[in-house]
């Protein structure tokens, strides 16, 4: 039987994950402001335009507003503040 050897773990130290809560949902989107956030990836703006058209046709009571962060991949507190100030829900895309 081959000898057993002891080796060290090559992985780094992961941070502790602290659970958080999703925001409470409204019952309906009628009369609500839906922010469509174009995250600036190629063609995301065109996709968001199509999404806006879809809302106009299918949920005309929802008020859609388009917005962009100052750059991709970076949190934009000013943009978030605007969404929080006069928005009810948001759709962000397309990407991560």
């Amino acid at each position: 039987m081959a000898e057993k050897i002891k080796v060290l773990d090559p992985r780094g130290y992961p941070p502790k994950v602290v659970g958080k809560r999703l925001a409470n949902r409204p019952e309906t989107l009628d009369g609500k402001v839906v922010y469509l956030i174009d995250c600036l990836f190629d063609n995301s703006d065109v996709f968001m335009e199509q999404l806006r058209d879809w809302f106009a046709q299918h949920i005309p009571g929802a008020i859609t507003k388009m917005i962009k962060p100052r750059e991709s991949w970076v949190d934009d507190p000013e943009m978030r503040a605007r969404v929080v100030e006069d928005g009810d829900v948001a759709i962000i895309g397309v990407g991560l």
């Binding site: 081959a2 000898e3 057993k4 050897i5 002891k6 080796v7 060290l8 773990d9 090559p10 992985r11 780094g12 130290y13 992961p14 941070p15 502790k16 994950v17 602290v18 659970g19 958080k20 809560r21 999703l22 925001a23 409470n24 949902r25 409204p26 019952e27 309906t28 989107l29 839906v34 922010y35 600036l40 990836f41 190629d42 063609n43 995301s44 065109v46 996709f47 335009e49 199509q50 879809w54 949920i59 962009k68 962060p69 100052r70 750059e71 991709s72 991949w73 949190d75 978030r80 969404v83 929080v84 009810d88 829900v89 948001a90 759709i91 962000i92 895309g93 397309v94 990407g95 991560l96």
Partner: protein
């Protein structure tokens, strides 16, 4: 996800290839029930009507109409699963369960802890021997790393770097170089879809002390130190940042062979110009590793011949303009440029002055659209002027500071390469930098300084 915490119900929309990554990111952020929705890949190049079909079509991950997921995700009340505490801690044991050599090798491959080339198993004896390469304690914190800016950052200490250095086959005397590279916090395993690599160059006395190759085959597999330092930096990156696993923590579409190993040394003694690290404000006697984030393209040329200027312009304008060029040249080439009357600085200036393209071509680029345009719209120069230019106007695509030159090679040929590589360092010459003020995890001087890790 920040919007959810601000009280705004949010639907993140991604293409289906990001499904695993989206789930992992949500879990690590403490919001595992994030209501992600997906459309098919790709988005790029699709017409408005094709994208409308995405909106009206099926979510390929959840197998339901895309808009059904969006509307339900925004309006369905939170359920028990959403309200469950999503906190957790992950174990990071110092040792693995003892096993046979064969089984441990299989485990390392199975867990994606290698680059699929053979490794040295990091036994206690080998790691202890490796740690003799530095005066620092095994538990000294070195830094954090992450696959990309929106992922969680994992931490690592000297011992973790030593473990991966053993796996790469490095010698203990290389450890300070590997520590200095890792302490920058710049991953050599970026998860970007564009397949980045981190290419590093060593300057200063340590090159000779550890026998790095800056001569014949300097960029090839012809030197133990070059090969294993670069490999160790890559292995630390993948293992100490939380992984580099395709579809989860790695999304590079084509991949990059600089991700195996890419650490080289400048031929300071045979260069007619000042060493690269001295240009950045380090002392000639400092040993420094400089990291260039790039690896998208590598163009080769020979000369300089009579028509070198046209050749350089073709190469510079063929470079992806979001990833500026690092020009690596054999001493023969550098000396020929000196004969033509160029200094390093004036050659860089010539490149910046002559690398021009029509504004239309500059703008028709995914990364200009995504990353440069927002700065241009905010009035940041030179991006703002480039954006304002008429479509047929010839505009400069690189500033002098974007272009770097490093001299190395065996003088068997007047060869040079232009490699995608943005200098990531912040040497003492950078605005606001001081010799004592580091960044990242450990306060160990300017990024890349090797001597502090001896």
């Amino acid at each position: 996800m920040a919007l959810e915490l601000d009280g705004i119900p949010t639907i993140p929309v991604s293409t289906h290839v990001f499904a695993r990554l989206a789930a992992a990111t949500a879990k690590a952020a403490g919001l595992p029930t994030t209501r992600n929705c997906f459309v098919p890949q790709p988005l790029v190049g699709r017409t408005p009507s094709e994208l409308r079909a995405y909106v009206e079509g099926m979510d390929p991950v959840h197998k339901r109409p895309f808009m059904q997921g969006v509307i339900e995700g925004l309006t369905q009340p939170l359920d028990d699963e959403d309200l469950k505490d999503a906190s957790f801690e992950r174990d990071s044991p110092r040792y693995l369960e003892p096993d046979t050599d064969d089984n441990l090798r299989k485990l390392f491959i199975q867990e994606n802890w290698t680059d699929f080339l053979p490794i040295m198993l990091p036994t206690e004896e080998r790691v202890e021997a490796m740690l003799k390469g530095t005066s620092h304690a095994a538990d000294k914190f070195v830094g954090y790393m992450r696959p990309t800016s929106f992922r969680e950052a994992w931490g690592f200490d000297v011992e973790k770097v030593a473990i991966n250095a053993v796996m790469a086959g490095a010698n203990p005397e290389y450890l300070p170089v590997i520590l200095a590279a890792c302490a920058t916090g710049i991953s050599a395993r970026s998860s970007s879809t564009t397949s980045w690599a981190s290419i590093s160059f060593v300057n200063g006395p340590i090159r000779k002390e550890i026998g790095m190759n800056d001569g014949i085959g300097a960029m090839g597999p012809y030197n133990h130190a070059n090969a294993t330092i670069g490999r160790a930096y890559c292995l630390v990156s993948q293992n100490c940042q939380g992984g580099s696993v395709p579809g989860d923590t790695y999304m590079g579409s084509v991949g990059n062979n600089y991700n195996y190993t890419a650490c080289f040394a400048e031929a300071e003694e045979r260069s007619p110009w000042s060493p690269f690290h001295v240009d950045q404000g380090f002392r000639p006697t400092d040993s420094v590793i400089s990291i260039f984030f790039g690896g998208w393209y590598t163009h080769s040329g020979f000369g300089p011949r009579e028509t070198w200027q046209e050749k350089f312009v073709r190469m510079l304008t063929a470079a992806d303009h979001f990833s500026s060029p690092l020009i690596v040249m054999d001493p023969i080439v550098a000396n020929e440029f000196v004969k033509l009357g160029y200094t390093k600085e004036s050659l860089i200036q010539w490149c910046a002055d002559n690398a021009k393209m029509k504004a239309r071509n500059y703008g028709d680029d995914q990364w200009v659209t995504t990353l440069v345009k927002p700065h241009a719209e905010a009035g940041v120069e030179p991006m703002a002027s480039r954006l304002r230019a008429a479509p047929d106007e010839e505009i400069s695509i690189f500033a002098p500071n974007d272009i770097k030159i490093i001299v190395m090679g065996g003088e068997t040929q007047g060869a040079f390469k232009m490699i995608s590589g943005r200098y990531t360092g912040r040497g003492p010459n950078s605005p606001g930098a001081t010799r004592g003020g580091g960044r990242g995890g450990a306060d160990m001087g300017p990024p890349g300084l090797i001597d502090v890790w001896r």
